[in-house]
């Protein structure tokens, strides 16, 4: 290349050679697209190995029966999915019949509407947990955000106090609520039990009580996250709009209804979607407060079965991925509309 012809300029480095120089030179001469994809290689490798490959492999494994310690894997097609939805695989699954109320049986020949057995309890648990926790987190988070949006002395300390639950490890969050309701230590059972809110004895083994406790624990921890997202939205509102409204004679409530709420709505939508997706993955909290047998979520079922019936576990994992994937599509659509 130019290295031979160039004899001038003391500051030039063209005469240096060696593999490193050659590689750098090659990289520098890549076009923008080539350079972009080169730098993205580590991302592709990591996400390919840790996300894409497992996802596909999960789908493949779900088509085989693979009982740990018993013989070779055997191709069974969609049998696992069918047995999941008909309740035929219940013996493998954890959980109680507590969440099996209602009768979804529509057709005994079409398994995808005919959701029987313990999968339904997992769906019910996940759905109830998600809806209730996200609902209250949104309301409480909104309240916290409105407080943090005010100017007052000690605001940054109040903000720290409100954020802290968000930052603590799930296992400690679980531990706190475990200790609150444990029969030997819990002070809360006595009170709430007397009011009939939770079971008076053996609270953490009672499905409904445990689901309630887990949901409250999640609301306690994650409202702060909602609050931060909503606060960001609040602070991006042009303050002069409020002056305009005041001059026009709007009361505080009217200002909130006519300015704050409509302007915060898109932010709120995105935040709720994110939280919904996140809540549907719940596992650790349940595992540390109660147990997967008492309150079986979808992720719980995967963990509980993968040590024994790996094919079935894969099928549950894939069903979970699909359900969450639908919610993810919602987010993606949102992002697409905003234009990345």
């Amino acid at each position: 290349m130019a290295a031979e012809t160039d004899e001038s300029g003391p500051t030039r480095e063209t005469r240096r050679s060696g593999p490193l120089v050659a590689i750098t030179r090659w990289m520098e001469n890549l076009g923008e697209t080539g350079f972009a994809y080169l730098l993205l290689t580590p991302v592709f490798v990591l996400l390919g190995a840790i996300a894409l490959y497992p996802l596909l492999r999960t789908l493949e494994l779900s088509l085989y029966t693979n009982i740990i310690g018993v013989g070779e894997p055997e191709f069974v097609g969609l049998d696992h999915y069918v047995s999941l939805f008909t309740g035929a695989s219940d013996p493998w699954l954890p959980g109680t019949s507590a969440f099996l109320w209602g009768d979804v049986t529509l057709s005994s020949t079409f398994p995808f509407i005919h959701v029987e057995g313990l999968l339904r309890s997992a769906l019910a648990v996940t759905l109830i947990f998600t809806l209730v926790s996200v609902f209250f987190e949104t309301i409480i988070g909104f309240g916290q955000a409105l407080v943090l949006d005010q100017e007052f002395r000690g605001r940054s300390w109040v903000r720290v106090a409100i954020i802290i639950p968000w930052a603590i490890p799930i296992v400690i969050q679980g531990m706190i609520f475990y200790l609150m309701f444990h029969p030997s230590t819990g002070f809360a059972t006595e009170y709430l039990g007397a009011w009939g809110i939770v079971a008076e004895t053996n609270t953490l083994n009672d499905p409904f009580s445990s689901l309630l406790i887990v949901t409250v624990a999640d609301i306690w921890k994650t409202s702060a996250f909602m609050a931060l997202l909503i606060l960001a939205g609040l602070q991006s509102i042009d303050r002069s709009l409020y002056d305009v409204a005041r001059v026009a004679g709007a009361s505080r409530w009217q200002q909130f209804k006519l300015i704050t709420f409509p302007l915060i709505l898109p932010t709120l939508g995105v935040a709720i979607l994110f939280r919904t997706i996140d809540a549907m993955r719940v596992y650790g909290l349940i595992d540390s407060v109660s147990s997967c047998t008492v309150v079986p979520s979808l992720s719980c079922m995967v963990v509980a079965t993968f040590g024994s019936q790996r094919g079935l576990a894969s099928a549950i994992a894939f069903v979970t991925a699909i359900i969450i994937g639908i919610a993810v599509l919602g987010v993606i659509y949102q992002q697409y509309k905003e234009g990345i």
């Binding site: 290349m1 130019a2 160039d6 001038s8 300029g9 003391p10 500051t11 030039r12 480095e13 063209t14």
Partner: protein, 409 residues
């Protein structure tokens, strides 16, 4: 040694051609301005020389070396940027020595060179400051010091004065010229300001729509523009253009005619559509053009708006009274003419008057192609004129006569 040569440089983005078959040779030690309207490709051209952009086609030589595929750091170039681009997280010393430290110069050498560079741009005693503690002019000096400290073969300056206020800009212009004299390095300077280009450079390269229009010394670009674009771009206020038809007696425009022998216009035949160009300072009031021998016939005009500038007065003339006075794009409409007269001239608005053009300063362009055909036209049609027809020759004459008449106004 530090010649810069561009051969057939073309840069295409997805749907636009930013630079189109650019061929330039910049001599060692020369100060060349790339000038043109924004978006014309001048900055892209400079980025290609720097190596920040790779050309789609063509070759870049610095000295004798083909540097087309070399990264910027290995080209022996230094650059001063429009937004100054000092690293905000480094102090002045760190900024200036950045390139040297990357190249692992030893500390004494770095100190010596930084000191010297700071000396040249008069930054003594400021080496510890951070960029945000300095004024715009000081920051610009740091940027220049950062460029000169490496003794580059070629200096690239991308509108370095664009972000400075007017007064400082004029001052920095002279500083840069002094610097060029002192360093004797090749400088390529990008600007959209034709006045900057005129005052500083050895040669001006006028670029439009990705194509090189003309590269010549400033006065040649001024007096012998290669085409309509250069004629209109160089000089402020802009040249007057009037379209007309070439007849056997000269040029016939809607409002006046200029008589000459059409055979002295090369590459044009009677009946062609031509554009006449005349600079405001080459238009005279008839009674004040006494000493000038090369005048055209008087042209009827009415004065419209006067713009006294102090050292001269710009007079907007209407050639056709009946025509609507149009405010927009006054210079392009054929019934208007801009004239520059000396400040002591007795002149009023809405006054009927006669003007003449300096025939030796008339430029004729082919309307369709925009190419210049001739600069300065000879006297009345007759047997005496029309012997030599080359545009270049005619231009040389123009310059000779031009210097005499300048003081006359």
């Amino acid at each position: 040694m530090a010649r810069v040569t561009l051969e057939h440089i073309t840069k295409r983005y997805e749907d636009v051609t930013a630079v189109d078959d650019m061929n330039v040779e910049i001599r060692d030690g020369e100060f060349v301005c790339l000038v043109g309207p924004s978006g014309c490709g001048k900055s892209t051209t400079m980025e290609i020389v720097a190596g920040l952009t790779t050309p789609t086609e063509g070759t870049v030589f610095i000295g004798d070396a083909d540097v087309t595929k070399l990264p910027p750091k290995d080209r022996g170039v230094a650059m001063v940027f429009q937004n100054i681009a000092l690293f905000p997280h480094m102090n002045v010393w760190e900024n200036i020595s950045f390139g040297l430290r990357l190249r692992k110069f030893d500390t004494d050498e770095i100190d010596r060179r930084v000191e010297h560079a700071a000396d040249i741009v008069q930054l003594e005693g400021m080496l510890e400051r951070m960029p945000d503690e300095m004024s715009g002019g000081q920051r610009q000096r740091v940027a220049i010091a950062r460029a000169i400290v490496r003794n580059p073969d070629v200096f690239l300056m991308d509108e370095p004065l664009a972000n400075l206020d007017a007064k400082l800009r004029v001052h920095m212009r002279t500083e840069l010229q002094r610097l060029h004299k002192e360093l004797d390095t090749t400088i390529i300077y990008v600007t959209h300001d034709q006045a900057e280009a005129m005052t500083m450079s050895d040669r001006i390269a006028v670029i439009n729509a990705g194509r090189l229009q003309q590269i010549d010394p400033p006065l040649i670009c001024y007096n012998e523009p290669a085409n309509l674009f250069v004629a209109g771009f160089i000089g402020s206020p802009s040249m007057n253009f009037v379209e007309g038809d070439l007849t056997r007696d000269g040029l016939e425009t809607p409002n006046f005619s200029v008589e000459f022998d059409p055979s002295q216009v090369p590459n044009a035949t009677v009946g062609d559509r031509l554009t006449l160009g005349i600079r405001p300072e080459d238009v005279f009031l008839e009674h004040r053009a006494g000493n000038l021998e090369t005048t055209t016939d008087p042209i009827d005009a009415v004065t419209d708006v006067l713009e006294p500038m102090g050292d001269e007065i710009f007079v907007y003339l209407l050639l056709d009274e009946s025509a609507e006075r149009s405010m927009e794009d006054a210079l392009a409409t054929p019934n208007q003419l801009l004239m520059s007269v000396s400040p002591d001239t007795e002149i009023h608005e809405d006054e009927r008057t006669n003007v003449v053009l300096d025939r030796s300063k008339v430029h004729l362009f082919d309307t369709d192609t925009g190419e210049a055909l001739v600069h300065g036209i000879d006297d009345l049609p007759g047997p005496t004129a029309g012997a030599d027809t080359g545009a270049g020759t005619a231009g040389t004459e123009t310059r000779a006569t031009g210097s005499g008449t300048d003081t006359e106004r």
